[in-house]
Symmetry: C2
Subunit: 233 residues, 2 copies
Amino acid sequence: MSTSGRGLHGRVLDTLGPEITAGVYPAGSVLLTDELAQRFDVSRSVMREAVRVLESMHLVASRRRVGVTVLPSAEWNVYDPQVIRWRLAGADRPRQLRSLTVLRSAVEPVAAGLAARHATAEQCAALTECALGMVATSRGHRLEEYLVHDMAFHRVILTASGNEMFARLGDVVAEVLTGRTQHEVMFPDPDPAAVTLHVQVAEAVREGDAARAEALTREITVGALQELDILAP
Amino acid sequence: MSTSGRGLHGRVLDTLGPEITAGVYPAGSVLLTDELAQRFDVSRSVMREAVRVLESMHLVASRRRVGVTVLPSAEWNVYDPQVIRWRLAGADRPRQLRSLTVLRSAVEPVAAGLAARHATAEQCAALTECALGMVATSRGHRLEEYLVHDMAFHRVILTASGNEMFARLGDVVAEVLTGRTQHEVMFPDPDPAAVTLHVQVAEAVREGDAARAEALTREITVGALQELDILAP
DNA sequence: TGTGACAAATAAGTCTGACTTTTTGGCTCC
DNA sequence: GGAGCCAAAAAGTCAGACTTATTTGTCACA
């Protein structure tokens, strides 16, 4: 489950990536390839490969005669799963979770509406199964098992939408849900109303009722926003 | 405006990236670093750097004794601006524009609602300016100028939302709008109703009316979906 | 004094060749 | 026919020399 353990350059990224995203080197800081290679005790070839990856994430820019410059966070590829993981592991994890939850609240209802139109029979079955699993594990301090079904549910919705951009957010949603269960303060048992909503969404998708699926999912995400105290006055 | 002209490895990516995203090498195809280096007439070091970048985009996976394997498109980092550009330049540009337009339709209304709450005075002014610019260029076959204001408008909305994930979609939306003006069939003048909606969104944001800003923006994105014949029966 | 061109320093970029490591596929041997 | 061993293959790593572009500083000239 680690990030990119393969290869020496991966090891370098495992520590340099989190450092940069955590703001250890403020925007504009200049790093030197040779110094970094010394610090991590790797050859320049390996160090250069690592820098190339950071560059493709727009975390740094490499310029001749200057060095490797750290870019302002506004330039970062914040949709890169690796960057997301690095940031979630860092200090501004709460802030990151909020951003991602807002994104969820925008995307998931629309995805559910599309899923109601495009979902295959297998996907409908999987959805119902997930919902039932959530019901079954919603009582008795079985949060870990509940989480598995919850993540699977949302992943199926995003996949069944038929939109590849939505589908790729499955990992992000899973990360958010995991973060909520682990880190955030949560009741020993999930909110019964939320469980019911999931069952109803599965119903609506099965019946092809796009408007209802969208509205119900919007209720779910509103709940998620409220948990993080993100709501309109 | 090119992609990554800097460096030899960038040149390699400029042709290898589009080839992979265009499906020239089907998922599972195996490429050999040495052969690629020969083909592009670069050293192995440079070729390795290029492969590392492709790897970080999850376009390929490099394994010892096997080679560089092309991954199925479901694994690609489709939110990477570079990947988006490559795919938009390729054969399935229409499909890509549809995916992105659907994403827009999900994100922009929510972003507009947030902008109504968080927009600064400067951002409100910029928004009004953009809207006025759109009105001024909405007649007389001035699509190029209109497009500039249109792109700026949506970028301000996304930025003013205060959510970094939304803000980073500014480039994507700009790409979609450009694509619509250039490639797709469009009337010589933009739809007057759409122009009015933009002005009203600017108003709503200025007045802090989140619900109205969201609803109006939803109308705009519904229009965008209809242009591409994406609509519910 | 300011401005231009030129020269030197610097750090990334590139190439080459040798070596290491891991994985796989086949082969032998039981 | 299966377990284990061996060799080939390809990526991975390293070290060193060289190239190129960019910046900075200096010096001469207006």
